[in-house]
Amino acid sequence: MASVDTAALVDWIHRFRDAVTAKRDWLTELDSAIGDADHGANMARGMDAVVAKLEAGTPATVDELLKGVGMTLVSSVGGASGPLYGTLFLRMGMAAGPVTELDATALAASLRAGLDGIVARGKAEAGDKTMFDAMAPAVDALDAAVARGADLAAATVAAAQAAAVGRDATLPLVARKGRASYLGERSAGHLDPGSASTTLLFETLAQATAESS
């Protein structure tokens, strides 16, 4: 496929909702090991709200769609994940603009803007053991694949794989941000829940682009 339209983005959102719902207990378990045991519940609640809003009517343009997703997450998730995931989608929407579809380059630019937004809000850096550790390599891989001339489906698969590698690389890290940072050395040996849900975000993106190509 050459581009994702709003229907493909909605498909992605549904798939992400289904994934965080299916993995709800796993995400919460990861969070109870090093955080406050609510990541799965919060993400599932937030994505349910997003899907309910989309079922009431899908916006015509990509920016309205993504900004709507972002605002709904900000106002329904809470915790640190709400502002961070919310900011991701808000910034993605702002970068995309009032278009009806995104080609690979535009999707990569939109995700890059989202990542920058998360960095500005959460001030995380590589190796802090946060969602950034999955998200940054995923966006880098997407950019690299697009630069190589890969099509959208191949580029999003590369991004999903990089996210998973980044997620797994959080296992030995000592957390420096968020609730897990208070565990110090004891946070090592556990996956970061934010990087786990971020990986689901990219895996479902790859599924959505594969499906519609």
Binding site: T28, S32, A37, V74, S75, G78, P83, K177, G178
Partner: protein, 330 residues
């Protein structure tokens, strides 16, 4: 999990219904989960708003009332409230003199209140913020999200609430809040984990013969786990890190707080152990609180807060307060 609940998903909504029924002097907006005073304070006075995850009762809803908070925003259990709700609270209680946000230093709370302040300011409401970070259990805070906001939040809400009530402007109230934060420290410990209703099982395993030193108000550890010790030894482990971080000689306000699952007989026993240690270090306990003031659901354990005081702080402390969780002189 054995709890007095119906459905884990409804715990907060149904608890707020009880708050409204128990306290006609408060007003509960069930849509935004914001608790405000039924009778707003006078126009022209700074409003004080706090909030955070639920499960720490009486914090924060129990401190809404004359002499303390104007509004409390209740997030889901252990989950900070969302920015739109904090903004709704801010808008509801602004009396034209600006609003102070009291925020505990937890990433979620900081991010959501930051976004809420941006939203409120876009609507022309002046917002001042104090981030409370009194927890000495967090070492090497350069490498973490920083010290957590714990017990000092209670004392700060009381003192700053009194200053706002007597008509101090936003800049003075913010300055006072920061001064209080700078001279107060806390340290906590747990005997058991708590159980978050939505999770259904204890957040962490803590064997019968172990205790966790340096927990935050969700049970997150700060220092180490070790064999269970007598109260006298636990008292030493709470007092020493505080005094190592704060020269507390002189008058002070002291709180020995229960985490929700320890009976008052044990909290008084702990207070009896803590006082001589503090006095030996030259701390003159001018005022005190002993009881459950900032809890962690059903966690057993306690925390100690020491705030260096002066005549100004003691005057504000003694000012009338009339809330479900703290009441005197009113």
């Amino acid at each position: 999990m054995k709890k007095l609940i119906n459905n884990p998903a409804d715990v907060l909504a149904e608890s707020l219904r009880g708050v409204a029924l128990a306290h006609p002097e408060l007003s509960v907006d069930f849509e935004t989960q914001v608790i405000t005073r039924a009778t707003p304070k006078d126009a022209g006075k700074v409003a004080v708003v706090s909030g955070g995850g639920s499960g720490h009762e009486p914090l924060h809803g129990g401190y809404v009332g004359v002499g303390m908070l104007d509004a409390a925003v209740a997030g889901e259990v252990f989950t900070s409230p969302t920015p739109d709700r904090v903004q709704a609270a801010t808008k509801a209680v602004d009396r034209g003199a600006g609003v102070l946000h009291i925020v505990k230093n937890y990433t979620g709370d900081v991010l959501n209140f930051e976004m809420a302040a941006e939203l409120a300011e876009m609507e022309g409401i002046e917002v001042g913020t104090v981030i409370v970070d009194d927890d000495v259990a967090v070492q090497d805070s350069l490498y973490t999200a920083g010290r957590r906001g714990v017990g000092l939040t209670v004392l700060l809400e009381k003192l700053v609430g009194a200053a706002a009530e007597e008509g101090q402007d936003l800049a003075s109230v913010v300055e006072l809040a920061k001064r209080i934060n700078a001279q107060g420290r806390s340290m906590g410990m747990a005997l058991t984990s708590c159980t978050v209703p939505a999770a259904g099982k204890p957040t962490f395993d803590l064997p019968e013969d172990q205790m966790e030193i340096g927990i935050g108000i969700h049970g997150e550890p700060g220092r180490h786990r070790e064999p269970l010790a007598p109260a006298s030894e636990i008292a030493r482990q709470l007092v020493e890190p505080i005094l190592a971080d704060l020269d507390a000689a002189g008058p002070a306000i002291v709180m020995l707080n229960g985490m929700g699952g320890s009976p008052l007989i044990e909290l008084y026993l702990m207070y009896g152990e803590v006082v001589p240690l503090l006095e030996k270090a030259g701390v003159q306990i001018a005022r005190n609180l002993v009881g459950d003031y900032i809890t962690s659901l059903d966690m057993a354990g306690c925390s100690l807060t020491v705030l260096k005081a002066d005549d100004e702080l003691l005057r504000l402390w003694d000012a009338p307060v009339n809330t479900p969780g703290l009441r005197w002189g009113a």
